[in-house]
């Protein structure tokens, strides 16, 4: 079970949908933080303990892959599960995310059940 969760997506609509899905699960026992890109997400991580991250890939300023590399390079966040949720579906992009340290991968569009199933396997 995770306490605080961070959702990283440049779309406020997707952040809202994912927050609603998380609230339907027992995964979140603390706060749900939101960030619009990788840079904002790193700021959130520096200031708050987070036990699970859901991240998009295509974002302005710092994309999801670069954000993931920054996370994995920091000892404090190396073992935090990161679920990538993105429209990017090419094998090359999935492989890049896995090599950067992604714990799981869900393609948009997604159902609430798909997200819940992935979270259950990660936590």
């Amino acid at each position: 079970m995770a306490s605080n969760v961070l959702i990283v997506d440049d779309s406020a609509a997707i952040r809202k949908i994912l927050a609603r899905v998380l609230q339907q699960t027992e995964v979140v026992t603390g706060s749900i933080y939101e960030a619009g890109d990788g840079q904002q997400a790193l700021e959130v991580l520096r200031q708050n303990p987070v036990a699970l991250v859901l991240s998009d890939i295509n974002m302005p300023n710092m994309d999801g892959i670069e954000f993931l590399r920054e996370m994995r390079a920091n000892a404090n966040w190396q073992n935090v599960p990161v679920l990538m949720i993105t429209t990017e579906g090419s094998q090359a992009k999935v492989l890049e995310a896995v090599q950067a340290g992604a714990s799981g991968y869900v393609r948009k569009p997604f159902t609430a059940d798909q997200i819940k199933e992935k979270l259950t396997s990660l936590i």
Binding site: S11, A13, K16, I17, T87, G89, K108, P109
Partner: protein, 174 residues
């Protein structure tokens, strides 16, 4: 690498749109006959969301709809009621466009190689015109959605300058 046949584009857009609506909105819009144009000209309240393609194939993918349709799309995606086209509605339309165009792009990549896409740009207003510059028209794939309509527009052509750069690199390497 040649251009993609229009009927392939239309088929992929319809498939990508159907998948999104079935998966996240529990409904399916009705496909209408496709057509070609190089302009968007609107004198009524409408939303136009545009995403750029780059790589060996370049162009754009977009979604154009009346304000009433934008509010319905946002309501279906976010499960709320929207009386006006506000920032949340525009964001929802951008994400609908992103998922349709993004999944179209992924399907094209299977046969045509990696294509980059930009983040969405959204235009909302009552009187504006947009034009697709270049050699090709938009392939317009319309849908009836409740009592409104929206259309998805694709323009995707081989990037001749990319080919030329590749040839220069090959020459330099040999």
């Amino acid at each position: 690498m040649g251009a993609i046949a229009a009927e392939v584009v239309v088929g992929l857009v319809r498939e990508s749109t159907r998948t999104l609506f079935e998966t996240m909105m529990d409904e399916v819009p009705e496909p209408l006959p496709d057509y070609r144009t190089s302009t968007v000209q609107d004198s009524h309240e409408s939303v136009f969301c545009l995403i750029g393609f780059s790589g060996e194939l370049m162009g754009s993918g977009s979604l154009h709809c009346p304000g009433a349709c934008a509010k319905r799309l946002a309501s279906a995606l976010l499960m709320g009621d929207y009386a006006e086209v506000d920032a949340e509605v525009l964001d929802a339309v951008a994400e609908v466009t992103n998922m349709i165009v993004g999944n179209f792009k992924t399907a094209v990549e299977d046969n045509y190689g990696v294509i980059g896409i930009s983040t969405p740009t959204v235009i909302y207003g009552q009187q504006y015109a947009a034009r697709n510059f270049g050699a090709s028209d938009w392939i317009v794939v319309p849908f009836r959605y409740h009592d409104t309509e929206f259309d998805v527009r694709i323009s995707l052509q081989p990037d001749k300058s990319a080919k030329s750069r590749a040839r220069q690199l090959e020459t330099a390497a040999s």
